[in-house]
Every structure is written in C-alpha cells, then in structure tokens.
Amino acid sequence: MNYLNNNFQLIDLTFKSIVDALPCYVMIQDQDFNILFANQTFRSDFGDKIVDKYCYAVLKASLHPCSVCPVSETFKDKKVHVSEELIHLPDGSASEMIAYSAPLFDAVGDVSACIKILVNVETIKDEHRELVVLGQSIALLSHDIKNILEGLQGGAYVVEEALKDKDRELASRGWDIVKRNITEITGITQDILYSAKKRKPKLRTVKPVDVARQAGQLFDEKASSMGIQLLLELNPKVPAVKIDPTGISRMLGNLIWNALQACQKDNEKRKHLVFVRTDFYDDEHFFFEVEDDAQGMDKEIQENLFKDFYSSKGESGNGLGLMVVERIAKNHEAKIEVLTKKGAGSLFRVIIHLPDKKIALK
C-alpha cells in the first residue's frame, strides 16, 4: 500500500470508497503479477490476505503465470487489453469473467503497475448459451417442419390425383400420408411447448397402467405399419399415484417413438419388438420403461443423450424428444436409467417415488 501511496497518490478516502464499492474486482498488479491493491468486493470474496500474493495463485489456483495475460500485454505495449478468463472462486466453483488491464504510468511515462478489472459475465454467458440453443432449435425445428410440410403436400397431391380418378384406394393411401404428418406436427408442437416454457405439472391421482396403456395404444397402428410388434407389460398392482398424466403420456410417447425409429433403422434383424412396461422398482418406487431390440447405442450417443437438441437420427430427429423426457421426469422428481448393449437393444427406465404409505393411508 505504501508503494501505491508513494508512487501514485491516488487513494484518497472518497476515491477508495468508490473503488471498494464497485461490483467488480479491481486490483493493481506489478510486473511480477503481485497484487498490490484489491478493492473491497475482491477482498470480500477472496479474503483480506490476497494483497502481496500472485494474481495467478489467487485467481487461477496456479503456481505459474498464465500463458495469455492482459496485464503482461499491457506492460509490454502500454495499451489497454481485454480477455475472457475463467476465474476459480474460493468456494471451488468457477466463473467466466472479462478482464480489462490498463497501464499506470510513472513520472517518466513508464508502466509502473497495471490496473486490472474483472467483471463477472456468468449470467450474460448463460443467456448467450440459451440464445445459441434457441438458434439451434429453430434451425432443427425448421428442418423438421419443412419435412412435414413436404409430407403434407405429397399426401395432398396423392389425394387430389385420386379424386380426379375417383380412385378410393389411392385416396386412402394419400390420406394416410396426410394423417401421419398431422400426427408428427402435433407431436413436435407438444414437444416445443414442453421444452420452451417451464410448465407446471398438472398432478392427478391416476393408475400408471392406465397412462402407459393409453400411451402405448397411440402407437399401435404406427408400430404395425412399421412391421414392429409393440407389447405392453403392465402390472395392475402398481397403485394410483399423483402424476401429470399428460406429461407422462408425452414422455412415454417420445420414448416409444425413439424405440420404433431405432428398430426401423436396424436392418440386422427381420422382426423387432418394443416393450412398454410399468411395475414396482422397489418398496418405495415404481417405474415406466420402454425397451427395444434394435442396435443399441454407442458411447458417443450415450454421452450426449440428454444434451439439449442432440439427435443421432440425422434427418429424422430434432433432439427435442429426450430433452422433453428429461424435463417431465424432473417435474416428477424421477430418475432416468438407460441400459444399452451394442447389437442387442436399449432400455429407458423412469423411476418415480411411490406415495408414502403412511400419508396415503391418512
């Protein structure tokens, strides 16, 4: 501190109180990156003993100076430098910050010290990431919607041609295409609604078997048309529970659709089975699960499964499906288990807490 007072005489009480109150870290460093001064905000977060310590030790928990350092650049060229830094906070977390460094000159115009200001931009970065995800989602969904519109146009064309010729069979096939694409756009719209806003689950006391049966039946026709057998194995003893039936049905629908698509993609087997199950997991939990006997998933797919908008389906996926599954599971404080074996198939299990017996008896 004496060094500063003697050399710059910049710390009078008023100025110091302003600098202390600034909602960012302000410090002054010498050429060896020793912290000569730290404002109150900085000291509050990192403790009073940071003065006289190396910047890189305090902010990066490192024994060596950073390879890229704005302060070092400022000492070299006497100019202001800006960089983005990941700062290690004392509680073990890390925050993205923007670092500004500016020279402090002595009487002969040499840089005697540098002022460094660190501004936390974590919230802005989060918003930025959300915007990136939003952009990606718009691109993926536009592609999906384009495909569906093309399907609708194709179906409408076939129906029109059939009407010209009064060909009922052709009209029926064209209408099937239209219906399929209407189902798809309905599904996508529901997924968008589930993923775009935080939807409060509408809890009702229902039997899980009823929800699973209904969800499975919605795909009966589709599975048959794809040559896949959809089997329901539902334990009626699982008691009525408080869940969001619409959400759970959407979640199961997405898992079933994924399973059907995985089977359709698998040319190794001639016949495929998809199981929808609900049963007890243990004394305190029950589960919903969907299992297929397709090709299973490789490591990369498994690692990225629940990442926002990740899809392994190329042209036929928008990455919303499992994102919605995860969101609905979270709404039910449920745990998701994924079991997969290359060449054998995949199983997605959503484990939900059963109601407390004592509470349920009251």
């Binding site: 592609h143 519109l149 093309e150 399907g151 194709g154 179906g155 041609e161 040319n267 190329g314 036929s316």
Partner: protein, 130 residues
C-alpha cells in the same frame, strides 16, 4: 428413347416421399420401381437396369445414397445411368453439388434440394433420358 416407357428407380428411406414420387412419376408416364433402403436399392437397380435413378443422398439405412451412387458408378454396366440426387439436408449440411469438384466421391448428374419442384424434376428426367 422413342415410344419405350422410361424406367425410373426411386430410392428414398422416407416411405411417404417414395409413394408420392411413385404416384407422380407413374402419372406422368414413367415405369417406376421403388426401394426404401440403400442395399435393396442397389439390388433393384441391378435387377431393373433403369433409364434413370432418383436417389436420396442422406438415407439412414445400411447403404447411404453416397454409397449407392458409388456402387452404380463403379459397375461397368450401370455407370452411365443418369442419377438425380435429392436431399432434404442440403441447406443444413451445406451440401451443394458442384459437378466438377464433387465428382470423385459423389457423382450424380444433377442434385436437387427437397422439396423438389415437380416440373423441374420432370424436365430434368426428360432431358437426361432423351
């Protein structure tokens, strides 16, 4: 080709698109055969010896459209069969067919982004098979 009916093979893993294309081309006087999978597509091509192939590039089946194209071009009997490549992912993948640049790994005669303009497709088929 004279009065002979032009034989077209359409290969696409989107069965709705396949049926729509089959209806459209049949109604425009072509003899159309379809396959919804790359491997079956190659067998169909070898069996039918079509005058032209409409091929989806980004099929997620055993053989992609790229592979089908490669096999056709490396078969001495089939290599001159005109291929119209189509894809719905053209924009997203930056897939723009440049005949002279892409000939080595993917060599359709022409490439269209989906949705394909039907009149343009007809004109191109007629042009490539005349």
């Amino acid at each position: 080709m004279g009065d002979k009916t032009i034989k077209v093979c359409v290969i696409d893993d989107n069965t709705d698109y396949l049926f729509t294309m089959e209806t459209f081309l049949t109604r425009n006087g072509f003899d159309v055969k379809t396959a919804s999978e790359g491997k079956a597509g190659i067998e169909l091509i070898k069996e039918q010896r079509p005058d032209l192939i409409v091929l989806d590039v980004m099929m997620e089946t055993t053989f992609s459209g790229f592979e089908v194209c490669r096999q056709v071009r490396s078969d001495s009997d089939l290599k001159n069969t005109p291929i119209i490549g189509v894809s719905g992912m053209g924009d997203e993948l930056g897939l723009k067919y440049e005949k002279y640049e892409d000939m080595e790994y993917f060599s359709p005669n022409v490439f269209f982004d989906k949705p394909v303009d039907k009149d343009l497709l007809l004109a191109k088929i007629n042009d490539l098979t005349s």
